[in-house]
């Protein structure tokens, strides 16, 4: 049995986290009961992205299956900062693993409010900044522009001593340039990849399958893109990296670790296997004797 890694000083039992927005630990506990506390699939829990104000999310249809993957346009439904702090945080604090809270806002001020509020809560081990959103002032997608990313980090870094993990968007020509900006701005780690921009047409209507017209592509289909971006980001920065994108088994995770990820995260695969996180960790040799890391499909 191998010893767990560290992420920004946070001790982990194994190197497998969840991708933000792909696991609702509170709902899972309602469905499966406290069994999930004894056998929690992830070494740290990453919350759904929260925003300053509550959001109901996008109109359905929100998901669509694609070759070896899926599209989603969920639209970040969440209770907003206040609701999260009041209702969700106490429940997430009951989880047996460190909590990483994912946050997004469209102005430095709003983002700052969230960071400061979370900084004050010792239940929160680290913050993940979801920068796949526009800056309402510049109109630019923060994560698509190194300058925007640097400016955001410079605004947020002074507000907390907790680790700041920047979640990179893959929809750019040069993710490494954004990662370098995050490092310059004082980020403690980066995570990648978020979903690829994708679309599909419903065969009968001939109209976009998702009500939003397009969505984010995830699942095994995107793994090669994730690995390419991981390699170029790894070559560009020294920070720890949370690698994700299409990981379905230990062998897949091994590819990310070999390509330079410090730890990995599992997203879409958890939909098929609620314990995918533990399985991937086990196939990597954690929590039990190392097993042949072949896909368990």
């Amino acid at each position: 049995m191998l010893e767990g890694p560290q992420l920004c000083g946070i001790e982990l039992a194994h190197p497998v986290l969840n991708g933000s927005g792909t696991y609702d630990a509170i709902a899972a506990r309602r469905v499966f009961g406290d069994e999930i506390l004894d056998d929690f699939p992830f070494a740290a829990f990453v919350s759904k992205t929260i925003t300053p104000q509550p959001r109901t999310g996008n109109e359905p249809r929100r998901i669509w299956e694609t070759p070896a993957g899926m599209l989603n346009s969920i639209g970040l439904p969440n209770k907003g900062l206040e609701g999260f702090l009041a209702e969700d945080l106490p429940q997430l604090a009951e989880l047996p693993v460190p909590l990483i809270v994912s946050a997004m806002a469209t102005t430095h001020e709003d983002f700052g409010r969230i960071v400061s509020a979370l900084d004050a809560r010792e239940e929160v081990a680290a913050l993940e900044l979801n920068v796949s959103c526009p800056n309402v002032h510049s109109g630019l997608i923060v994560g698509e522009d190194p300058r925007e990313t640097l400016a955001l980090l410079q605004a947020l870094r002074p507000l907390t001593a907790k680790p700041l993990i920047v979640k990179l968007t893959p929809n750019v020509a040069d993710p490494a340039a954004v990662a370098v900006a995050a490092e310059e701005g004082g980020a403690d780690a980066v995570s990648l990849i978020n979903t690829l921009k994708g679309s599909a047409i419903e065969p009968r209507s001939g109209e976009p399958a998702l009500a939003a017209g397009h969505g984010g592509l995830s699942g095994p289909a995107v793994r090669p893109v994730a690995l390419a971006q991981l390699r170029s980001v790894r070559a560009a920065i020294g920070l720890p990296i949370v690698g994700m994108g299409g990981i379905a088994c230990g062998a897949d995770a091994e590819e990310f670790l070999r390509a330079g990820a410090t730890v990995v995260a599992v997203g879409t695969e958890s939909f098929s296997d609620p314990k995918a996180g533990s399985r991937v960790a086990r196939e990597l040799g954690y929590g039990s004797e190392r097993v042949a890391a072949a896909p368990v499909h």
Partner: protein, 294 residues
């Protein structure tokens, strides 16, 4: 923790491998059985996420995600319980499930979601009986509900509708051991191949109009258009109804937020954890087919 919606008994945590017992034709659909060694006996209305353990997907890369299927019947088995599923082949996932062979293995998670509930739970002690309304493959969860009501002596009548012969099946799930259709079952078919020519909701409308509807609770599952007609009829007749809906589901346990169904007040329910069975008041209208049948 937030109050628990009645989804007990809880599903074992994680997916498990189950062996296919049998797979037979049932009209235009298939009925296959899985042997579940670990799970609790499911209540009617609950569902499972299913994926064949081998050959799930092909060069097209689909199916990739598991598919949500309601339990249609269940019973004791050698070393666990038997779960029967009624499936209509409308695409790669249900297509693969329909061709499952005895001995094959299936990944199963569940039972998930809530259940229909008994009339008393739904409408209080005054509730006298139940009217079950099913359409197409949506008759599946009503088969288990009918048997449970029969066993518990809950007065009930059953109305089942089908588009045509090809899109009919599952009737055998409403038959006595002897194979005769249960007397409380009445049929409707759009092509008139069985029972009343027309919609099953014609039968419900007549029933609700007739004073004999009394203080019944209506339980329905079927295509969105049928469910919406049922919802509207019950709203007019001020009869409580429980509707088993469908929406696209990637996970079935609240993880993906894909199964959103609009709430009257605005915002959305997650059908997998807040449903799949909703009361009429939880909807302004039954959303259009997210999983339109071929």
């Amino acid at each position: 923790m937030t109050p628990v919606t009645p989804t007990t008994p809880r599903a074992p945590f994680g997916r498990r491998r189950c062996t296919v017992g049998a797979n037979r034709a049932s009209g235009g659909y298939r009925v296959f059985s899985l042997l579940d060694r670990e799970g609790p006996e499911p209540a009617a209305g609950r569902f499972y996420m299913l994926a064949a353990a081998a050959g799930w997907g092909d060069r097209s890369g689909r199916p990739q995600l598991p598919r949500a299927i309601s339990v249609a019947e269940t019973g004791p088995a050698a070393d666990g319980i038997r779960l029967d599923f009624l499936v209509d082949d409308v695409g790669p996932g249900t297509g693969r499930l329909c061709e499952l062979e005895p001995g094959e293995e299936v990944w199963l998670t569940g039972p998930l979601g809530n259940d229909f509930g008994e009339p008393a739970e739904v409408a209080g002690p005054g509730a006298a009986g139940a009217i079950l309304v099913g359409g197409g493959v949506g008759v599946a969860p009503l088969a288990l509900l009918r048997r449970r009501f029969a066993e518990r002596g809950v007065p009930h009548r059953v109305l089942l509708g089908f588009r045509d012969e090809e899109h009919s099946g599952g009737l055998d799930l409403f038959c006595s051991a002897a194979g005769a259709l249960c007397p409380e079952v009445r049929l409707a078919s759009e092509d008139g191949h069985a029972g009343h020519r027309g919609y099953v909701t014609d039968l419900l409308g007549a029933m609700l109009a007739g004073d004999d509807a009394g203080s019944a609770v209506v339980y329905a599952c079927g295509p969105p258009a049928m469910l919406e007609a049922v919802r509207a009829l019950c709203a007019d007749a001020v009869v409580p109804c429980r509707l088993a809906l469908e929406s696209p589901m990637a996970c079935g346990y609240g993880a993906c937020f894909g199964c959103a169904v609009p709430k009257p007040g605005g915002g959305y329910l997650r059908l997998c954890v807040d449903g799949p069975v909703l009361s009429g008041e939880q909807l302004t209208a039954v959303p259009e087919a997210e999983l339109a049948r071929a």
